[in-house]
């Protein structure tokens, strides 16, 4: 028997993942020694871990494009850009969680460990250049989020949300896996570059297996980004999950799934582009329409934001459909922008949550801005940004998405996008109206949490900053574009 030759892999490729995983191990151990009353220490530990990970991301940045592990992981600027986004997202999520989970009575240390584990999953997902690692990263991320969705064990809504999300998520993983298997069957490889080379060298354009595989992959990914017709889980999961997790999963997993989607479709399957563009076109258009129109009818603000998130997935898909450098850059930029406006809006909702009061109905916001003018203004900024009006970041993000679509000559899609933004004006302004015009109501005292108010102000500031001085962020997104 010959001993197995193990070549030492280039660990720099997965340095951020390794650093963060080790930190999570440490946190799990440390949690055992932290008394019940001081679980906030876990949040601080989590933030430190994220900071260390951020440093490691910048360290890896100087190495340029590197790949390792039989070319199944790649660390390029595209991946590192997303990794930084996840670190920001997770940091904001931890800040808004500390007080909130104490109110919900689920103040356990595992919350932070699992949250950070899902970040590890996302990091793997954006670096993955092999279908096997793509799948594993996706499962890692998704499993953590399922657990976090059901984290309020004593709340039936949370349980229901987790179960629905889990069952449908498992189903969609099956679809993706099936698509991957067919892809492997045709090309004989799971590596995205090898698949691309094989498809470029052999004509498989009208191979029914390839078409089936593309359809299955799109179905699975559409589920992960909550695009119509695979969006049914989103409102229930968003409503039932702890609000801090809703904020997190409206951004993080969505961004990670978009990154993987870009890598799989633009790198591995450019040959099949006419096929998948046709399907994505429909998905994008119908997502924008359904998401924005159904959102109008919602009375629960978490559900409303869930539908608006479905609409946003439709907008972002425009960048994927364009498939140009400009298109990819606009996706990256929009994900960055979306973090601040979405987490900002959700953290205002959390501000209203206190023992005995849910505070996630739109009517709970009655007179909110009159009682708390500065926080009300922040919420208004988030709403304006979600609509996509200047001078906020949402405007810049949408401008680039629409521009990318127009540049790639998808005029109808851009028109639908603009029209649906007008529809969204209606329901976002409904919230603004409730805040500014309706009578103040009883029991609107806020939870005193400096971390939470800091996040609200920080997100508002970031939204305005990107909206008014976008140049730096745009060039960062352009620099991080995949080599296509």
């Amino acid at each position: 028997m010959t001993p197995i030759q193990i070549t030492y892999p280039n660990m720099m490729v997965i340095l951020p993942e390794v650093v963060l995983s080790c930190w999570v191990f440490f946190m799990m151990m440390a949690d055992l020694f932290i008394p019940k009353e001081k679980k906030e220490i876990n949040a601080v530990l989590g933030l430190i871990g994220l900071a260390v990970t951020a440093v490691s991301v910048f360290m890896v940045l100087s190495y340029g494009d590197i790949s390792s592990f039989n070319d199944s992981m790649r660390s390029d600027r595209f991946a590192l850009f997303f990794k930084l986004l996840f670190i920001i997202t997770a940091a904001l999520a931890i800040l808004i969680s500390a007080k909130y989970i104490a109110i919900e009575g689920v103040n356990w240390g595992e919350y932070y460990s699992i949250l950070l584990f899902s970040v590890v999953g996302m990091m793997v997902l954006v670096s993955a250049t092999d279908l096997v690692t793509v799948y594993l990263g996706m499962e890692f991320m998704a499993l953590s989020i399922y657990v976090l969705t059901g984290f309020i064990r004593h709340d039936v809504r949370s349980n229901e949300a987790a179960l629905k999300y889990f069952l449908l998520g498992a189903f969609s993983s099956g679809l993706i896996l099936y698509g991957m298997v067919l892809l492997y069957g045709v090309t004989g490889s799971t590596n995205v570059y090898k698949i691309a080379n094989f498809l470029a060298a052999n004509d498989n354009y009208s191979n029914p297996l390839m078409i089936a595989s593309v359809i299955l992959l799109i179905s699975g990914f559409a589920f992960k980004i909550a695009a119509v017709p695979f969006h049914m889980w989103a409102p229930d999961a968003y409503e039932g999950a702890p609000t801090s997790i809703t904020a997190f999963m409206s951004v993080g997993p969505k961004a990670a799934s978009f990154a993987a989607l870009l890598r799989v479709f633009l790198v591995a399957l450019p040959v099949m582009k006419p096929h998948w563009v046709a399907i994505f076109w429909g998905v994008s258009a119908i997502s924008m329409v359904v998401g924005n129109v159904v959102a109008v009818a919602q009375t629960n603000i978490k559900r409303m934001l869930a539908y608006s998130g479905i609409g946003h997935a439709g907008y972002i898909l425009m960048g994927v459909i364009a498939g140009t450098r400009m298109g990819v850059a606009s996706v990256l930029l929009y994900m960055l922008v979306y973090i601040f406006m979405s987490i900002g809006a959700f953290s205002v909702i959390i501000l209203l949550r206190k023992t005995g009061v849910k505070g996630d109905e739109i009517k709970d916001f009655s007179g909110f801005a009159r009682r708390y003018p500065s926080l009300g203004l922040c919420m208004l900024i988030f709403l304006i940004s979600l609509i996509g009006l200047p001078p906020t970041a949402g405007f810049i993000g949408k401008l680039y998405l629409f521009a990318a679509a127009v540049e790639a000559e998808y005029y109808y899609l851009a028109v639908i996008g603009v029209l649906m933004s007008v529809v969204s004006l209606f329901y976002y302004m409904q919230v603004a109206k409730t805040m500014y015009i309706d009578e103040e109501i009883e029991g609107q005292e806020l939870v005193p949490s400096r971390a939470l108010t800091f996040v609200v102000y920080f997100c508002a500031a970031a939204t305005l900053l990107i909206g008014m001085f976008p140049d730096g962020f745009i060039s960062a997104a352009m620099a991080a574009v995949l080599p296509i």
Binding site: M1, N70, V124, R153, N202
Partner: protein
């Protein structure tokens, strides 16, 4: 000989799967599933993959399905409670039609010879060069697929912590 065995095992697999989905009693369905795992293991043996066959039985038939049975028994699901599925008649019909369509598609694809991808490297000669199936699996697992292998252990750790958090009776 091999072909004959393949048809026998394949036939049993198909019949057992049918029993699995049509069975009224959840315990019977679970047992049919065990049968399916067994014949799949037998098919692995036919392909010369003894290690996978043993792992298949050990993991799926020996561990996972036992836990399934365990849960079914603890819930004491009686057939009567599950029979109230008349409102799913439409879904049932739709499901049968769709699976027939899917089967026709797969048959067409296989018949049509669309699998024209590169053949894999692991011929019987290559595998025996490693010193056997087990060694070949190990060699691939610890070189090419090292990262997915390690990542899986992280996923399992996360899933374990998550399951404990969600179900443990009292948390400190």
């Amino acid at each position: 000989m091999e072909l004959l065995l393949f048809y026998i095992f394949g036939g049993v697999a198909v019949l057992a799967s049918l029993g699995l989905v049509t069975g009224k009693n959840p315990v019977h369905s679970a047992l049919f599933m065990v049968v399916v795992f067994f014949v799949i293991a037998a098919l692995f043996v036919l392909l010369g993959a003894e290690f996978l066959a043993a792992a298949q039985i050990l993991v799926y038939a020996g561990a996972i399905m036992v836990l399934f049975l365990f849960v079914i028994m603890l819930l004491r699901l009686q057939p009567e409670e599950l029979r109230n599925t008349s409102r799913h008649a439409f879904q049932k019909f739709f499901g049968i039609v769709l699976s027939l369509v899917l089967m026709a598609q797969i048959a067409l694809i296989v018949r049509g010879g669309f699998f024209k991808g590169a053949k894999g490297n692991y011929t019987p000669e290559v595998v025996s060069g490693f010193g056997g199936n087990t060694e070949a699996v190990a060699a691939v697992l610890f070189t090419d697929y090292l990262f997915p292998f390690e990542l899986t252990s992280l996923i399992l750790l996360m899933a374990m912590v998550g399951a404990v958090v969600l179900t443990k009776k009292e948390l400190k």
